[in-house]
Symmetry: C2
Subunit: 298 residues, 2 copies
């Protein structure tokens, strides 16, 4: 891995963590408890793939990271809210998230519900209040926020969760699995990449290329998840392996087999990297990111 | 009541119902179930006070109702989502809403949770995608959507719900009750009124006057609710009376007494009407609306 890749990732992570910390101040007032719950979940960060994608696509299209930050944080807030609501007893009923108690275990179901609502609402407030009109036109800000809203909504991420609920305990075919993931995971990754372009005034061709990169990356990401559930170690993953098989969940591995899945990840990653040809700037970072996600161990 | 008041209310109601119907199409696709749940709750309309306020303040400031409609529908969607989440078992655990089964009783908790998330997300999508840039500047659209986001968020409506949760089963003082209502009910009424002004390019003075009207109206509305719970009939209210006393809930009536409450409603309504002097156009409709809410029987 290039040293510059690691360094830039660290810079991005530092920017994102600091900004989330500033935007979700927590404590102090009567309603402080829900803010604390929002902070708890937002700071229990994973890879921060989505906000990094927004920052890097913006940079590639000529906008400095700082100006893209409200949009990057918004997509991460929406991702975080979806995990909080997904973990609730009436949904997946998961007690743990990334090795720590889920939000509703730590704060109670009522507070977790409101913390999710709060993060979803704050995502829009942040984009609309914090964008810098000297760097981003109001029309572009509106277009980016509208894109995130539609990709996070019923035709996007929420739609994927509905399909997931309906599929629970049932065998599903590869087409349904594909649609579910395209919505549940893919829609937000797509918004992350394309928002970076929209706020930078990128061309229509570049916007489409960002969409191609996102859709290949998103699907590869999901297939790698399924592969790791079979081949990974509990230690590396930080969660029990084999849970998909145990729950008789239809996965890419159960439907296509391990070899076909590995081939697909290779093919999709190459496809993602090829889509970057439509950009003139240095696309090395995004190519490395795609490779890193394809070969990750957790 | 003036005939023109009734006629204009009917016109507004018809506009709002038709637009909500168009914006939440329902059925047909894999994720159709959650859209159906969104429609179910959004069409089980109450008085539609909030969207009517947005349309009328916009009209008063010179914008035609059609242009204000996306913002009116957005505030109603946010009100509806808050009711769906409020009724959930982990919150107030209410089985009935306006004489019909609550969303989670009809569709299940998981679908109701997602329907609430979907309406909250759709509210922003609608404002950002459906506003007419020929009638409303992009900057005004952003300001209005940002206003709704902050008033609906943790510093606004959600904050009020948190205080409500913490107060459950406890006696609270008048200050806490006032803060809770100012956030839980008042913040969205404030957004409804002020958004109407913001999208019409109203002056700062008018914006402040709309805020005064909203805050007096919102508090009077809540006090009337408490009075009706004591003096109303189950038949008129469509829900059991005396439930506040039974639940040992602190209300304006239990803290101040009936007479003081009636005085306060009178005073607040007069205050709301006086705030309208800052507008040049015909404020008769908004004055009648304040009177109608003060003297309502349900």
């Amino acid at each position: 891995m290039m040293q510059s890749y690691t360094r830039r990732t660290e810079e991005y992570l530092s920017l994102i963590e600091k900004e989330l910390d500033r935007l979700i101040p927590g404590g102090g007032c009567l309603q402080g408890r829900v803010m604390e719950a929002m902070r708890y979940s937002a700071s229990n960060g994973g890879k921060r793939v989505r906000p990094i994608l927004t920052l890097e696509f913006a940079r590639l299209c000529g906008l400095e990271a700082r100006a893209a930050l409200p949009f990057a944080c918004a997509v991460e807030m929406i991702h975080t809210y979806s995990l909080i609501h997904d973990d609730l007893p009436c949904m997946d009923n998961d007690d743990m998230r990334r090795g720590k108690p889920a939000c509703h275990i730590k704060f109670g179901e009522d507070t977790a519900l409101l913390a999710g609502d709060g993060l979803l609402t704050l995502a829009f407030e942040v984009m609309l209040r914090e964008y810098d009109p000297k760097a981003i036109s109001p029309r572009s800000a509106i277009a980016a926020a509208a894109l995130l809203a539609s990709n996070a909504g019923v035709e996007g991420m929420i739609g994927g969760q509905v399909i997931d609920l309906m599929a629970e305990g049932k065998a599903i075919d590869i087409e349904t699995l594909r649609t579910m993931d395209r919505l549940k995971t893919g829609a937000l990754i797509d918004a992350a990449c394309r928002m970076g372009c929209v706020i930078s005034g990128a061309s229509r061709e570049q916007l489409e290329a960002a969409g191609s990169y996102a859709s290949a990356l998103g699907l590869a990401f999901q297939i790698v998840d399924d592969i790791l559930d079979v081949t990974g170690s509990t230690e590396e993953l930080g969660k029990p392996v084999g849970s998909d098989a145990e729950n008789q969940k239809s996965t890419y591995v159960s439907l296509l087999g391990l070899d076909a899945c590995r081939d697909a990840v290779r093919r999709l990653t190459d496809h993602a990297v090829r889509a970057l040809q439509h950009f003139e700037g240095d696309t090395g970072y995004l190519a490395e990111l795609a490779e890193a996600l394809a070969t990750r161990k957790n």
